[in-house]
């Protein structure tokens, strides 16, 4: 059983909503990424999304754009990111790691080379933001046991949802608003209204992200979703903290969000 599948099964037993945290690998420098991953897990993250820096992050808002620029100023490459995952795996054999990024660094490395190296490093899932299922190298990823995560959006038609469900594994990621990462116009009620239709067409756990900024919005989304994804808010905490406070400040933020989510009434198991 894949780590993602195992994690969602365990959480379901404990009636707990998954907290998925996003950081950009190498932000603000490459040395902090692995310690930060461990701290996120200690603070209550169930799944780690690790952003692969790309020069042209078209689907990201200002916070993740800045994180990307900081990482690229250190020359962080896809190979470096895979090395970080290998290092993380030495001390954590259980927490799923999903790489999130854009097609071109993977295209450049070659899909097969990448899939083999990613599986070897201990990567569990891959989300390429600009690769819809029509263009996805599904067979190559499946062969290496990598889960393919796809986005669903408020504009996704029922027909497209079926197509995505055929290609997706691990979980699907519902983008809770039209826009880029870090936007602030999230409406939890609207998200809640959309989810039944998604669940009818797709049996996988549903994560919700884009626009979740604090414990309260995470708690409310957690009433509908199987997983809550927080990214830009963590990036902002990273850039606001002095270098020696990053681990503590981010840990505290994530801990607060975890606590707020756990106050949510238990979902029927």
């Amino acid at each position: 059983m894949s780590r993602l599948k195992q994690t969602f099964a365990n959480l379901k037993q404990r009636a707990r909503v998954a907290l998925v945290t996003y950081i950009t690998a190498g932000d603000p420098d490459p040395q902090i990424t692995v310690p930060l991953m461990h701290r996120l897990v200690e603070s209550g993250a169930d799944i780690l999304e690790l952003g692969v820096p790309f020069s042209d992050p078209m689907a990201d808002g200002p916070a993740i754009q800045r994180a990307t620029e900081r990482a690229l100023s250190h020359g962080v490459s896809l190979r470096n990111v895979l090395d970080m995952v290998s290092e993380f795996r030495r001390q954590d054999a259980d927490t799923p790691v999903v790489l999130m990024g854009y097609a071109n660094p993977v295209e450049r490395m070659g899909y097969k080379t990448f899939a083999e190296a990613a599986a070897q490093a201990g990567v569990d899932g891959v989300l390429m933001v600009d690769v819809p299922p029509e263009e996805a190298p599904s067979a190559i990823f499946v062969a290496q046991g990598l889960d393919q995560i796809f986005l669903l959006s408020p504009t996704t038609t029922g027909q497209r949802m079926q197509l995505i469900a055929q290609h997706a594994s691990g979980f699907v990621y519902y983008v809770s608003l039209k826009g880029v990462t870090g936007a602030t116009s999230l409406d939890p009620e609207e998200v809640g209204a959309r989810l039944p239709a998604i669940r009818q067409l797709c049996q996988l756990p549903v994560g919700v992200g884009f626009g979740i900024r604090d414990g309260e919005s995470a708690r409310r989304i957690g009433q509908f979703a199987d997983a809550v994804v927080i990214g830009s808010r963590i990036i902002e905490a990273i850039e606001q903290a002095p270098r020696d406070r990053i681990l503590d400040d981010v840990g505290q933020l994530v801990g607060t969000i975890r606590q707020a989510m756990d106050r949510s009434p238990d979902k029927a198991a």
């Binding site: 042209d56 071109n104 295209e107 408020p154 504009t155």
Partner: protein, 399 residues
């Protein structure tokens, strides 16, 4: 499948093209494709498009024999397709008219665009005013500085110009920001993409709207000289003016098609914008094509004296025409383009755009190697009034 029948149903030109965008845009692109399929089969739509081109743009644009310059160069005769004489001063308006008519058909009241040299931004602001739509143009902060006359023209036409300060602060970053706007406002907004690039169906529909250039040449050249030219030369940034004049000539296999990329300070310096000449295949801005990138797949900064060619990618159909050998791609340097710019001013009384000056510069190289009876047709894609500040600055003159 014949070369003119691409893209296929997946939006591919061979292995190039495709649809590489975030899920939020997929429905909008499918809707655009379906609407375009209906529009191109609707005689009323095509009639209105051609009516606008004739009465608003001023088409057909003439073909002009550059006699003095040809004589000076001493070889093949150079003919110029005068897209610089279009309303707004460049070929860009052919496409923006077409896309604005599509936007109106789809009930969209707001249009957005990216622009490099500002020609596409001006052409978009123009049609937005013409059709009563609100308009936002994204432009790299560096381009805002070097193309200030066009920035003011857009404002006069009622558009909002948003300077983009991320990344290299040029055309590619403006495109990123336009995509972000579109993702956010996809229900109300039509994205008028300015070049034959981006996700399917854009490369196809921009080509189709720009093909009026080559279609006119197909009838104008026999009228003027009794035959088709020996070669057609056009500059290639994203590649819309080139594909517009090339496409109708693809079946005319005895006509050489030559695309000229921006060689900047020289291909060997790395400071250029010539992905077909010196790049490798990659994915950027929604499509697969040749790309200027490093060994890790990061897009690298480009350089060209011409803002409109300062782009790391190139339309997917050009990648396909290169690989199939139907078209050739070469590059000229900033200095060569500037020399051609000045020569056309002095020998023909025409101030060409710096983009078009790249095509002129290659014609100036090729012509002396050919006999006098050979004919080169250069797409003079835009006029150079917008560039006089840049040229003056390079000459150490402050206007």
């Amino acid at each position: 499948m014949h070369l003119t029948q691409f893209p296929d149903e997946h939006g591919r030109f061979g292995t190039y093209g495709g649809v590489f965008v975030a899920e939020t845009l997929m429905a909008a692109l499918e809707e655009l494709q379906q609407e375009y399929e209906r529009a191109r089969k609707d005689p009323g739509f095509m009639q209105e498009f051609h009516h606008e081109l004739r009465h608003y743009v001023g088409r057909p644009s003439p073909v002009y024999h550059a006699r003095r310059w040809s004589a000076q160069l001493g070889g093949a005769q150079i003919y110029l397709k005068r897209e610089d004489l279009n309303h707004t001063g460049a070929h860009k308006i052919n496409n923006t008219i077409g896309q604005a008519l599509l936007a109106r058909r789809m009930g969209k009241k707001r249009v957005i665009a990216e622009t490099g040299a500002g020609q596409h931004g001006v052409a978009t602001a123009t049609v937005a005013a013409r059709f009563g739509m609100s308009c936002v143009v994204y432009m790299g902060a560096e381009d805002v500085a070097r193309q200030s006359p066009n920035v003011y023209r857009m404002k006069l036409l009622g558009a909002t110009v948003v300077p983009v300060s991320s990344g290299s602060r040029t055309l590619k970053d403006a495109l990123n920001e336009a995509m972000r706007d579109w993702v956010t406002n996809v229900a109300s907004t039509f994205y008028i993409l300015g070049t034959a690039a981006g996700p399917h169906p854009y490369p196809m529909l921009v080509r189709d709207f720009q093909s009026v250039i080559g279609e006119e040449c197909l009838t104008q050249m026999p009228e003027l000289v009794g035959r088709q030219p020996d070669a057609i030369i056009a500059c290639v940034g994203g590649g819309s003016n080139a594909i517009g004049i090339f496409y109708p000539y693809i079946p005319h296999t005895d006509v050489r098609l030559i695309g000229v990329e921006a060689g900047g300070e020289g291909l060997d310096t790395g400071r250029h914008a010539a992905p077909l000449s010196a790049g490798t295949p990659g994915i950027l801005h929604g499509f697969r094509s040749y790309l200027m990138q490093d060994e890790n797949g990061q897009v690298i900064e480009t350089h060209s004296v011409s803002a409109g060619l300062d782009y790391p990618g190139v339309g997917p159909e050009h990648a396909w025409l290169k690989d199939t050998g139907r078209a050739e791609y070469v590059s000229v340097t900033d200095d060569e383009a500037l020399r051609a710019f000045h020569d056309l001013c002095r020998y023909e009384g025409i101030i060409p755009a710096l983009e078009s000056s790249h095509a002129l510069a290659y014609a100036a190289k090729l012509a002396p190697t050919l006999p006098r009876e050979k004919i080169l047709l250069v797409n003079l894609s835009g006029r150079g009034d917008k560039d006089i500040n840049t040229v003056a600055h390079l000459a150490g003159i402050t206007l």
